[in-house]
Symmetry: C2
Amino acid sequence: MKQIALYGKGGIGKSTTSANLSAALAESGLDILQIGCDPKHDSTRMLMHGSRIPTVLDLIREQGDKNLTVDDVVHQGFSGVRCVEAGGPEPGIGCAGRGIIATFQLLERLSALDGDVIVYDVLGDVVCGGFAMPMREGYAQEVYLVTSGELMSIYAANNIAKAITRLSKRVRSNCRLGGVICNAKNIEGERELVAEFAKRINSSLIAYIPRDRVVQLAEVHKQTVLEYAPDSEQAAVYRRLADELARNTRTSIPTPLDDDELDAFALES
Amino acid sequence: MKQIALYGKGGIGKSTTSANLSAALAESGLDILQIGCDPKHDSTRMLMHGSRIPTVLDLIREQGDKNLTVDDVVHQGFSGVRCVEAGGPEPGIGCAGRGIIATFQLLERLSALDGDVIVYDVLGDVVCGGFAMPMREGYAQEVYLVTSGELMSIYAANNIAKAITRLSKRVRSNCRLGGVICNAKNIEGERELVAEFAKRINSSLIAYIPRDRVVQLAEVHKQTVLEYAPDSEQAAVYRRLADELARNTRTSIPTPLDDDELDAFALES
Ligand SMILES: Nc1ncnc2c1ncn2[C@@H]1O[C@H](COP(=O)(O)OP(=O)(O)O)[C@@H](O)[C@H]1O
Ligand SMILES: Nc1ncnc2c1ncn2[C@@H]1O[C@H](COP(=O)(O)OP(=O)(O)O)[C@@H](O)[C@H]1O
Ligand code: SF4
Ligand SMILES: [Mg+2]
Ligand SMILES: [Mg+2]
């Protein structure tokens, strides 16, 4: 079983990339489980044709975790991808990371963390103990940083790399950096910039995903690109990504940039 | 004493707006304290001519909080603005909100939370108990949402509004929504879009800040726009903002959008 996590800044394209990745992996015959770990709980929406499945945290609040079964928590989506949403607390109270911790504990108890590939879609704006849990507890073995050429998303990616470096030293965690995915914002020189950043942190640019309007069109139809436009160039991009990640065995412990190096990097670009 | 907090998505322009706001308030003769509550700890950099002042969390780690004095924590910047940075833990461990909680406790103990206006610059990507602390404990009395016309930043602003609505009911907290600030990204129809969003959540667009290259030029010189280009149109915008916030007495309890309303709002724009 391969456990892949996509981490990145809010709005960078983690869920779009994860859902299309999962759909492409499932199309090739693999048994896929996707777990959304963003309080926004919309990671699996396009796999579920627009519906928001109940989150684990909401289910626990309503029914208590003792009574929950796999069918309450795991929902079947497009191409047979199994979907879970961790959810988060009401804004302003509690720990947003708690939804993630509660979800993993429940899925372990229900022996539902299985399949050929598990794809974790995790918010990377705040890399605190809550959101780093999948890395710390040995679930997310290969972490992929989703970024664009925008400085703020590179800053977030660098922060996640710092967490990987620190957590990779822990006994229970075997998290490593699998690579950097550039989800383009059509900035001049973006591909080279992100490739250079990946190299500086001891990794590599594993995929460049163009910004394409077909993503919005698929969204309006509440589908992944794989379902809405299976013959499109963008669908082919996601299939190549799936191939690349399924076969990838090269991982590394990152060498993140410090504040001054990041400032210098920003000025170069 | 007026206690103002600027909340918004990472990279939306909270620190740029806060630092220029503080500088403009100080220029008009007020005694200003600015507290950065983002683990990125760069809120007060342009007020401090590019230097990163030591964070409260780092100081506590190195010296213990019993030995710290006001001079260790509070640094004098441009135009006499007093600057503090909360800081955050190493990525991957601990609670990013802890830096904020520790900072307020220390400043209370040192009786350093004073002045005519205190400006809190708070990360709003994850509105958990940690980052909502300034609102929950009655420090941030007037919250201003910094957003652009981009959907993700409106989503973050709406989440913060949810937290205000919930926390405003608590006895200790008297937090209210002071208004919405549009820090433009030059998107078509952005001003109307953000004004409409502000109206829908029972508030109003209190300022529209153009995207202007003079901000980047000032940054290269490690200064606020107020210092680098005091006669520029952009400096005048920040002075108008300062006037507006200093005089504002209209606050409200927001009526945030739910998931479906936000989806519908996104499709309209
Ligand atoms: N490659 C792409 N091309 C065009 N639009 C994209 C692409 N990737 C993402 N988007 C758009 O960006 C928005 C945010 O992406 P999303 O996957 O929800 O981000 P995240 O999960 O990181 O918060 C989506 O609504 C989608 O319309
Ligand atoms: N009004 C503006 N015009 C031009 N650039 C801006 C403006 N506001 C912010 N910026 C740019 O956006 C970047 C991010 O802003 P910052 O204030 O650091 O965001 P935040 O504090 O919300 O993370 C800054 O480096 C600055 O160059
Ligand atoms: S651990 Fe993270 S999510 Fe939880 S309260 Fe702290 S900062 Fe917020
Ligand atoms: Mg997402
Ligand atoms: Mg900032």
